[in-house]
Symmetry: C2
Subunit: 342 residues, 2 copies
């Protein structure tokens, strides 16, 4: 693939710009008029012919304008996009919105999803931060009814797991507090293997509790993504390509059902790396269901300690610059929150 001249790059950029705005094929004329180019439409046509030959543009039919191909978008994102950062006031507004909920993980995940969706006018996802190695912090057992106990397990980082037990004989709160205190002190900072190694020392209720705690910890550690929050699905729906195409609807359905997400999150992260943000355009040949969609993903958190993923997905024809800057900004913001808790 040959290198593109400045003018060719410029024209490709403008076509993509205009097509993102209008969702229509772009004609040479339109380009010259709307952007006051110092060129005739004939010249533009020649360049467009070249770009088409190189695979960056395509023509729906002979007498139509040009539409960017996936390759075109990829070139744009990789080489032409100016590296937009979010304007200072937007950053401030967003940070401000988080101010109240910075201490509640579930809260800020929802908030982040909502901001991503609104700003990018696409659908968004946020997964809960996931510790690479789960460590015990604290345990608390609370008597609810006579033979019913509420167990609360706190992990390092502040994640909380809860469960209800039923016992054969009634237990009182004092007994439970004693057990909780003991175990909390003993297990402080340990991982689930270390705790499980001591399992034989316990009996009856204590054994049940210790067993439950290790199981919860093991499960948590092996989860790729705990909670996945989605928002803005209806944004994507209003886009013409989704109204028309059945494929696009299927893709959305798969995302709603979380079947694709797992795969996507683990297998992405190899290409088109733009400053920690990954851009998947049109399924990149790997995901057939995503032919019509683009996905912008970023990890957040402390690498090696606790990380989550967040991102945006919408039609291929999406505003990459803006979306990428939003994703990047939120990723760094949430990273700060994670750093505070871990």
């Amino acid at each position: 693939m040959n290198k593109l001249s400045n003018r060719q790059q410029r024209i490709l950029s403008l076509i993509i710009h205009e097509h993102i705005r209008s969702a229509e094929p772009i004609a040479s004329n339109r380009l010259v008029n709307d952007y006051n180019l110092d060129l005739s439409s004939a010249t533009v046509r020649n360049e467009m012919a070249y770009l088409t030959e190189q695979g960056f543009l395509r023509q729906p039919h002979t007498s139509a304008g040009r539409v960017p191909t996936e390759e075109g978008y990829r070139y744009f994102v990789g080489n032409l996009m100016r590296n937009t950062t979010l304007p200072e006031d937007a950053r401030r507004t967003i940070s401000h919105q988080f101010y109240q909920s910075r201490n509640d993980i579930s809260n800020w995940m929802h908030l982040a999803a909502s901001i991503l969706a609104n700003q990018s006018k696409a659908a968004s996802l946020v997964t809960s931060p996931h510790a690479e190695q789960v460590r015990f912090k604290h345990l608390e057992m609370i008597a609810t009814h006579s033979t019913q106990i509420l167990g609360v397990l706190v992990l390092e980082g502040g994640e909380i797991h809860q469960n209800v037990f039923t016992t054969d004989v009634p237990v009182n709160q004092e007994e439970l507090s004693r057990i909780s205190n003991k175990l909390s002190t003993q297990f402080q900072g340990k991982n689930y293997l270390e705790i499980r190694a001591t399992l034989d020392q316990y009996m009856d209720l204590e054994k049940t509790i210790v067993n439950w705690a290790t199981l919860e910890m093991e499960q948590t550690e092996n989860l790729t993504a705990g909670e996945v929050i989605l928002d803005g699905l209806t944004n994507v729906l209003a886009e013409p390509e989704f109204i028309e195409s059945d494929d696009a609807r299927k893709a959305l359905k798969m995302i709603e059902e979380r079947t694709l997400l797992q795969d996507l999150i683990t297998r992405s992260g190899f290409k088109d790396q733009t400053n920690g943000v990954q851009v998947l355009i049109g399924g990149e040949g790997t995901w057939d269901e995503l032919k019509q969609m683009s996905i912008i993903l970023a990890k957040y958190g402390l690498p090696g300690v606790a990380t989550g993923t967040l991102g945006v997905f919408g039609p291929i024809r999406m505003s990459y610059g803006h979306s990428i800057s939003i994703v990047r900004f939120l990723s760094s913001l949430l990273s700060d929150f994670v750093a505070e808790q871990w």
Copy 2:
């Protein structure tokens, strides 16, 4: 409005049935053939004319079949629908799915939403059970880093709130445990007003904690619906009426944004009461945005103690019998779970 003859009722039923299946206008011919009616199409046509006059059917145009009106659906749901209960094996399968997660509120809410969506092939919502009067159960403070504390507040019913505090001076776990124990014993079973009345007795850290707890409790009590879980939005999207109409998409958007839900949940519950299940057809004249949609809602939980709402929303042309029976069944299932915890 005159009473309908048996035959008229039968024909109305069949038209609705067939229209739900096919989304097309139904012709007299089709009815006679497909259902082996012992009548000629002419007779059916006469009856259809009458039903149209009475407002239960309408004709998109002269040479088209008939389509049920909102009034028609309402009559159907109110008078004609046979009271389906879910088959025993379906009940068992569903109960079984809940078996593992019956102790984790958040888990079974998600599960319920997913089952509702899949079974009804529409979108579903489940709100968290909400106590009429919130009562204190237990408090726990856990030292995380030197000046950072994780506060965990457990309410009766097992609802858990958490928050992170930062203090001026470092505190150790022993100190915190002492405070937690003391407050837990003192506040056991009290509501937020009772607790707040004692606020003056506390100072410094304790005061901060007590204040936080009462605020959390107050907020929780005044919330109409805490968490609202949505699922199956894309089911609805595949329906033809949503593909075509812009209104329908707007309605979905409002639901996704939760702006309508509040209103809906509080203001419904007056009409079309079918065994505890409320059926709103086409917005019932009150909600303009919902012209194209029907909503089936039910409360669950212990009335007067803790209740939540769950339901299904889809196109007017939805399978009411099945959806209602699913909603009803899940409502009773979740009620059992709530009863176990409160």
